[in-house]
């Protein structure tokens, strides 16, 4: 297959970037998007040019490192897939493909398609610790959990922290991510003592990092590779409102 690529090139956070045209041929439809960029980079290196910097790690959809905004979509056109799990057969031969980095004030570009997503780490860090009893490992049945809640907590815990929700959101809000992280604990008895502080601290850090505000548009849910649900955002709102009322 053959593609015309328009790729965002940017030296560093302080230099403005621009789209640069590349064309690439002999691409196998079963290659992942990242493998296609690998081939392009190989060509660039051979031509003595600077290869395109991009984030990646596991290449199996579980680490959340890969992050490309492809043809106006976070992680590209395929539903519920990360960029590394997006295959070139999802495109038509001869397609023009736009590739840009996540764009948000809280995710400054480091180089080309690589952004600094440490804002997410700061939010997680603000979430703090979770109290558990130490000593002998507990018997599995000691702490009964409603099956439906356990399932929902697991679903929320599927978030890989990739930031596609922020990238897709017209307001660059991080609510889907934060709500997933809040929900995975709020639904379980573990971490109950820290519940209110956690909600307040994480939301405050989210605002401090310069993410936008949720207006319930739903682009995050549509683009999330792990299909995190908007229900979680309602839960976050609930947790936050309750915590604001209760906390001293």
């Amino acid at each position: 297959m053959k593609f015309n690529l328009k790729v965002w090139r940017q030296k560093n956070a302080n230099t403005p970037g621009k789209l640069v045209d590349y064309s690439i041929d002999n691409i196998n439809g079963d290659m992942s998007f990242l493998e296609m960029v690998d081939v392009l980079n190989d060509n660039l290196v051979r031509q003595g040019e600077d290869p395109i910097a991009f984030d990646h790690d596991c290449r199996e959809g579980i680490c959340g490192m890969c992050s490309m905004y492809i043809n106006g979509r976070a992680h590209g056109p395929q539903h519920a897939a990360t960029t590394c799990q997006l295959y070139m057969r999802s495109f038509k031969d001869g397609d023009t493909v736009y590739v840009e980095p996540w764009r948000a004030k809280a995710f400054p570009v480091i180089k080309d398609l690589v952004t600094d997503r440490s804002a997410f780490d700061r939010i997680i860090a603000k979430g703090g610790f979770v109290s558990v009893n130490t000593g002998q490992a507990q018997d599995a049945n000691n702490l009964p959990v409603n099956k439906a809640y356990a399932e929902k907590a697991m679903d929320a815990a599927a978030c890989i922290g990739c930031g596609a929700c922020v990238a897709a959101c017209p307001n660059s809000a991080a609510m889907l991510f934060v709500s997933a992280k809040i929900s995975q604990l709020a639904l379980l008895p573990q971490g109950e003592p820290e519940r209110n502080n956690r909600a307040i601290a994480m939301v405050n850090q989210m605002d401090e990092d310069g993410f936008g505000n949720c207006t319930n548009i739903g682009a995050c849910e549509a683009e999330c590779p792990k299909e995190i649900k908007l229900t979680n955002i309602a839960r976050l709102n609930r947790e936050y409102i309750a915590a604001s009322v209760i906390n001293e």
């Binding site: 560093n12 290196v45 600077d50 290869p51 910097a53 991009f54 180089k111 690589v114």
Partner: protein, 128 residues
């Protein structure tokens, strides 16, 4: 590495591998070209660093495989076998090896960590 320090190793192959690795290391450090510049984020430099690590790791494996004159587990020295079965030499090689780097052209120093078995008796493992 696959050819000379793979499933089955011989003294001859390992010695050859050591020579090849020396050449490889030399040509790597002489001819490597890392795109990008020092003043910016450079994933290519990261990759080059990994290649350098792999060369060192390969060399370490070859040195240890050459030193260990027995067959044991995944280390099968063709010279040391009983009709295709690995032949261990517990008297001389019952240790975990740690090699100390002494410089690029210097011989590395071997440090042995003796393996002491208190509860089991060493036996020949047989799958027959």
């Amino acid at each position: 590495m696959w050819e000379y320090c793979g499933m089955a190793r011989t003294e001859e192959g390992l010695t050859k591998a050591l020579d090849l690795l020396k050449d490889l290391r030399e040509s790597f450090w002489k001819e490597v070209r890392v795109p990008g510049s020092v003043s910016e984020f450079n994933p290519e430099l990261d990759k080059a660093g990994r290649v350098a690590d792999f060369i060192e790791l390969g060399e370490l494996m070859v040195i240890d495989a050459l030193n260990r004159n027995e067959s044991c587990g995944g280390h099968f020295r063709v010279e040391y076998q009983d009709n295709g079965e690995a032949k261990r030499d517990d008297d001389n090689y019952r240790y975990a090896a740690a090699w100390e780097f002494k410089g690029v052209d210097a011989e590395p120093a071997l440090h042995k960590e003796e393996l002491v078995y208190e509860n089991i008796k060493l036996q020949v493992r047989s799958y027959k």
